[in-house]
């Protein structure tokens, strides 16, 4: 999972049940320079993931039996490989459920390939940068400690398991000096684009982040929502280094 494999080219696993779309995606992604493995269902997806260690996984949530969502959760349990889900455009439940279960980003079907390709590029670039280390010093807010160099977050003495996207989001918020950050700003800073972005991606990740770092996620004390403007990192001010 660390860095591109096989001749420097990044590997993408496509889990898509429609054979023609899978082939089209493979062709188009290969054209962009990726190595592509295509499989038709969730089980084959798990096997291919273990075997090929892709750098990014593209999962169609509209897989038969809704197994796309399960695959997403299962992958996320042990790995933080970037995941992009393909969802039905008319179902915001799907989008939210997919993002909640650990996907980093999503596209809705029908999509324009350029859009998907932009998201893939941004996500891979972000992961490469994260691998290089952010170069920031240690930040402490109350019992929350962020170690950007090590990619670790410690709350009350225990490591918190964050995905890379969640971690970057937290760093972006924590580094903002208590200013309000708009969703666009966060999309730009964390996801690397604003044009294709949708506030829901940010909202879903903020919810996931809160579940992991807030003592009570329904009464957030660290990451506050500012209605109409965005989010603000405003930890309790007992001590900060």
């Amino acid at each position: 999972m660390t860095g591109p494999t096989g001749g420097g080219r990044e590997r993408i696993l496509v889990v898509e049940d429609d054979g023609r779309l899978r082939d089209a995606l493979r062709l188009a992604l290969e054209e962009e320079g990726y190595v592509v493995d295509g499989v038709a269902d969730a089980r084959a997806g798990m096997e291919a993931f273990a075997e090929k260690s892709p750098d990014l996984v593209l999962i169609d949530l509209v897989l038969p039996g809704g197994s796309g969502l399960d695959l997403c959760k299962e992958l996320r349990r042990d790995h933080d490989t970037p995941i992009i889900i393909i969802t039905a455009r008319d179902d915001s439940h799907d989008v939210v459920a997919g993002l909640e279960s650990g996907a980093d980003d999503y596209v809705t079907k029908p999509f324009v390939f350029k859009e998907l390709s932009a998201r893939i590029r941004a996500l891979l670039r972000r992961f490469r940068m994260a691998d290089d280390g952010a170069g920031q010093s240690r930040m402490v807010f109350g019992d929350l400690e962020i170690l950007p160099d090590e990619g670790r977050v410690i709350r009350a003495g225990e490591d918190v398991a964050l995905t890379r996207t969640e971690f970057l989001l937290l760093c972006e918020l924590a580094g903002s000096n208590r200013r309000v950050l708009s969703r666009e700003r966060l999309l730009d800073g964390v996801w690397g684009y604003t044009y294709f972005g949708d506030g829901r991606v940010v909202d879903a990740h903020i919810r996931r982040l809160r579940k992991k770092i807030e003592p009570d996620p329904s009464q957030p004390r660290y990451v506050l929502t500012v209605r109409g403007l965005g989010y603000k990192f405003d930890p309790p001010t007992n001590d900060s280094a």
């Binding site: 089209a24 708009s182 949708d198 506030g199 209605r227």
Partner: protein, 465 residues
């Protein structure tokens, strides 16, 4: 068939159901009161008249006896008659030896009915009702003993007549009252009966107005159960059918979703290798790209619109200061080149909007202006008391007033709209813009511009902070 179906309508036309019920009730009341009145009147009359008749016969018998007792020695029958106790309402007459004697001038012998006089003279008592001038009278005659002649008394009955006519008046008034009461009762009853029907009509109107979930409360009235339940079944069937048709469009769009994505994705591969193609190949590719792009937008818009139709489109309203919103919108739309004129009240306003949806509304309107009017002139933003108007202005041909509603219909195009090959819209953009504006409590409407061109005005609600 035709006659059969028009006839009831003709009957309905003259009087409504309520009118018919009122007339029916009033007629029944009138008939009842007439019958009762008539029976009452006749009975009373008979009793009163019989009483008077009996007492008159008694009196005449007594007076005749008295006369017989005194009579033969009397020199002057007139005096005799006068000396007799004059009954309050009767006038005695005495016929002796062909000569009449009367106690009063009020009644002349020739007024008496000739048949009666003859009967009595022939030796039989008799009585007869007749009229004496305007007054009704009862004439009772009895032959006297031996050759004394005949004795008559004329009883005036005008008191009875007055009583009876008073009774008749009272009965008529009562009858009229009953009829009016019957009509009123009919009116009220009809109202009661029609009440549930009004509800049925109300629900039918709601359904016609698009509230397809409206149903009649089946517990409304036991006796109307057939009507209400069959009405509700009809509404169910209608709703199901509409849903099926909507679902069909949505299903088609869903089915096309994957193949369209395949088309777009495969095409992107060829587009990357555009330079390797011959000029003819490139031209064909461009044609293909444009229409595949258009197909993709149509499918995406159809899916979006199906979501609105199914009522599952979610809206995420947030208060946003107008100035912030505009900056965000222009940035999102990637159109910093469009000039914006914002008035002072608008800069101070905060609106309650779903930013993503508002962006889509404006994107659709800008697309529209670019497809049909040669581009957007400016965005004008005006603050009103309870709304902010964001207008996309162009200097195209404008939209005729009669088309300003129709143009929001799905796949509708303006009559003068150029059907150029450049057009890449789905034909659903304006409908979607309207749906998206409505979802956030706003609307899109079209105005003309003084110098020509059109203004597509998006109205969004202001929120008080």
């Amino acid at each position: 068939m035709v006659e059969g179906s028009t006839q009831p309508r003709g009957r309905q036309g003259r009087f409504g159901l309520r009118g018919r019920i009122v007339i029916r009730f009033a007629s029944i009341a009138l008939l009842l009161s007439l019958t009762l009145g008539l029976v009452t009147y006749l009975t009373v009359r008979q009793i009163v008249v019989e009483n008077r008749e009996e007492s008159a016969i008694d009196q005449v018998a007594r007076d005749a006896l008295l006369l017989e007792a005194v009579g033969p020695d009397s020199t002057n029958p007139s005096e005799l008659l006068a000396s007799m106790r004059p009954p309050s309402r009767s006038t005695p007459l005495f016929l002796a030896e062909g000569r009449w004697f009367a106690a009063s001038l009020q009644v002349r012998p020739e007024d008496l009915p000739q048949d009666l006089v003859e009967t009595v003279v022939s030796g039989v008592s008799a009585r007869q009702f007749t009229r004496l001038g305007p007054s009704p009278v009862l004439v009772v005659g009895t032959p006297l003993r031996a050759d004394l002649g005949a004795y008559f008394e004329v009883f005036r009955l005008d008191d009875i007549e007055a009583t009876l006519s008073a009774l008749l008046t009272v009965l008529m008034i009562a009858g009229l009252g009953t009829t009016i009461a019957g009509a009123l009762l009919g009116w009220v009853m009809a109202g009661r009966v029609l009440q549930p029907l009004h509800q049925v009509a109300g629900v039918a109107q709601q359904i016609a107005a698009g509230e397809l979930e409206s149903r009649i409360d089946e517990t409304l009235d036991r006796d109307l159960l057939t009507l209400t339940s069959s009405f509700n079944r009809m509404a169910d069937a209608l709703q199901e059918r509409i849903a099926r048709e909507a679902r069909f469009a949505s299903d088609v769009a869903h089915e096309l979703r994957t193949p369209v994505t395949t088309l777009v994705t495969s095409l992107s591969v060829i587009e990357r290798r555009r330079d390797e193609l011959t000029p003819q190949g490139r031209e064909a590719l461009d044609l293909l790209s444009r229409d595949v792009r258009r197909l993709e937008r149509t499918v995406a818009d159809l899916i979006e619109i199906a979501k609105h139709d199914a009522g599952v489109a979610t809206v995420d309203l947030e208060p946003v200061p107008v100035a912030t919103l505009l900056g965000w919108l222009l940035n999102r739309l990637r159109r910093p080149d469009i000039p914006v004129d914002i008035d002072e009240p608008a800069t101070r306003s905060t609106v309650l909007v779903d930013q993503m949806r508002l962006e889509r509304v404006l994107a659709n309107l800008i697309d529209n202006a670019e497809s049909y009017a040669g581009g957007v002139d400016r965005l004008s933003v005006e603050g009103r008391r309870d709304a902010v108007l964001i207008a996309v202005e162009d200097s195209g041909p404008g939209i005729p007033i009669e088309e300003r509603e129709r143009i929001f219909e799905r796949f509708a195009r303006g009559q003068d709209a150029p059907r150029t090959g450049e057009y890449e819209g789905s034909g659903l953009g304006l409908s979607l813009a309207q749906e998206n504006a409505r979802l956030q409590g706003g609307l899109v409407r079209i105005e003309g511009r003084p110098g020509g061109g059109a203004r597509f005005v998006v109205e969004v609600p202001v929120v008080e902070l």
